[in-house]
Subunit: 397 residues, 2 copies
């Protein structure tokens, strides 16, 4: 039977393509170091897990569609610590960051409307755009300069009468690039000039290195109407399985509408919200240690990559990803080869070809994304395998 | 700033309209018996809550987009008990039944395509239709005959070239109506004749009385291509806050596409799936008792309603709702009046006006939905208040 047109066109996960090859490697007894996915190995805070253990209610009931009052009250405190001043009513708790992006697209765009997103971008934005009928217009950025935002005229050239928003992931997945205050001010000026929304995905807010501080879109003045911030606890507290995020805006009409969509799906998970609330209480002491750990990992990956001839890669300032342009033709082929034809002492490494993060055909073909989510020892081993694998791959071509 | 057209048109929860009046009543010190919402008071099985308490992993990680293998394996066993023979690969675990409905709409319909749904229907279908750009075409059913499905010609008359599916909620929220095997066979014949999908929302499967057995769309032969079943654990295990549902189809191409949409949002909540798995193990002994309890409540509500002159209401065979047509003009006005102008010993009752469950303007204006989700003592009290309130309301008009 015929499926819908959007069903036929929705993008399959580009990372999933590698799974059969990984399964085959595992079946041959090969150990795989996974640098391809963003599942951190960091332990979820004990205080969060204790919430699940200590739940005393007899009925696991619906919460409010907007999110539990007590959790939203805690979120106000969390954001205040990051110098973001909001009210509880500015927040809608969502089922992870994913749902927040979908809501942001639904309330800003009609089907066929356009959102400008710097590419390479988080590949799942494609899926959300297909769901909501939004057209993503890619704004190409480049490995050579660390994926900086292009000049204004490059951006203005993409704006049409259907453009409704600019979406920025800051710090960026998959690039690790950080947009600074001056970048955001420039985007805000463009948004005002062309009457656009600015949607920022700030789920990696704390993952920022070299003593830099993070600028949120909510730090900027005079953007109450047009700023929409999307957040998630998944990476922050290594609680990816909890599925808690939020959407924040100081535009009351926009929030009122998001709540209407939220009412249709009744509520986000109840217990996960209570766990997320507990994480806010302990966050300072938890996160300092985590950040040091990720910084160490970043340095390891970057230093190892620098040992490779003809690699193009600027040290990223945030998140836990790095994109490198390799002296190869086809990163898809290389990633499959690592799983299928390469091993050292029955071990190999899995990387994410970057092409799936670009919307412009042909771009990213010789780039890969690495997620530094393994502990130091595993990461050093993985990077050694990566370097040796690349050398052998280049040699046998 | 301008919001999208769909943002401006998405339906606010019709039940939410009453909240300010309920809040005001609470502020005056009035106790409210809530017959307006489907939040059961039944305890969540201890065995489910124990899963949260005994979680031993150190990282609360992502699960697979399709759902945890171990949970889907258990679901196969659950459905086998209901004589529904499926494979693990036929199942996509979703974030509650809500997401399953959205996925079903996305894969069957393009924006502007139509789904026929018997009205009155679960009001949140409207929100999902707005999200996905689907047009709901209501097939009116009537309180007078217990909301039975109309004759074929009434249904055929609604089918256009944009019709893609018939959606049936069985047993029905808000009607409590049960579609029997002969009903489903009739719908299946229509679906084959007009090349339509049949989507069934079977979240109340077990809530079926008078010794009847439930017929699932998956019981019917030769529908593998076109049958899509949507399910949820929320009511079954009184675990509304857990947000676990699923979509099931024996059409592999359809499931492959649902998985692509599911990949965009990564995964449903991890711990909630493990809890849902535990519920399957204990279900038989848990549910028998629950069903007796709900049957008792159904009888109380129905008998109390029968004491009212000029009421129209057929005893429902399933779910835990009942719709009654009252000898009044405007159920909205009556519901507000109960909260604002009526009380006995500082107590009143809250009901859901049924108009919000109809898509055809003007229908349901003198109907209310009652959810019998209170224990016997509270329910008897609530129904007494309801009868006395109605008498006083009629008297003072």
């Amino acid at each position: 039977m015929k499926l819908s047109h959007r069903a036929e066109t929705v993008q399959a996960s580009p990372i999933r393509k590698l799974k059969p090859f990984a399964d085959a490697a595992l079946a041959r007894g090969i150990r795989i170091y996974q640098l391809n996915i963003g599942q951190p190995d960091i332990e979820t805070p004990r205080e969060m897990l204790d919430v699940y253990a200590n739940f005393q209610e007899k009925v696991l009931a619906y919460g409010p569609s907007q999110g539990l009052d007590e959790y939203r009250t805690h979120l106000v405190r969390y954001y205040a610590r990051h110098n973001i001043s909001i009210n509880r009513d500015d927040i809608v708790v969502t089922t992870a960051g994913s749902e927040a992006i979908v809501f942001a697209m639904l309330v800003t765009c009609n089907p066929g409307d356009e959102i400008i997103i710097p590419e390479p971008f988080y590949t799942n934005y494609n899926g959300f755009a297909t769901m909501t009928g939004v057209k993503i217009v890619p704004l190409t950025t480049y490995a050579e300069n660390g994926f900086k935002l292009p000049a204004d005229d490059k951006i203005s050239a993409l704006i049409t009468e259907r453009t409704r928003a600019i979406l920025l992931c800051n710090p960026g997945n998959p690039t690790g690039a950080v947009y600074h205050r001056s970048d955001l001010e420039r985007m805000a000026a463009l948004a005002r000039q062309h009457d656009l929304y600015i949607i920022t995905d700030e789920v990696y807010r704390e993952f920022i290195y070299d003593g830099l501080t993070h600028t949120s879109i909510l730090h900027l003045p005079d953007l109450a109407d047009r700023a929409i911030m999307v957040d998630s606890i998944s990476k922050r507290y290594s609680a990816c399985g909890a599925r808690i995020g939020c959407l924040i805006s100081r535009n009351p009409a926009l929030i009122a509408t998001v709540i209407k969509f939220a009412q249709a799906r009744l509520c986000p998970p109840t217990l996960d919200q209570l766990a997320a609330k507990a994480a806010i209480d302990i966050e300072g002491k938890y996160f300092d240690r985590i950040l040091q750990e990720y910084d160490k990992r970043r340095n390891i990956v970057y230093e190892e990559l620098q040992k490779i001839d003809d690699i193009i890669c600027v040290k990223p300032e945030g998140a836990f990803y790095i994109i490198a342009k390799l002296p190869i033709e086809d990163a898809d082929d290389f990633a499959v080869w690592l799983l299928s034809n390469f091993s050292r002492d029955n071990e190999t490494v899995m990387v994410a070809p970057a092409q799936g993060f670009y919307a412009t055909p042909g771009l990213g073909k010789n780039e890969i994304r690495l997620a530094y989510v393994l502990n130091e020892q595993s990461l050093r081993k993985a990077m050694k395998l990566f370097r040796e694998g690349l050398a052998e791959y280049l040699n046998q071509k």
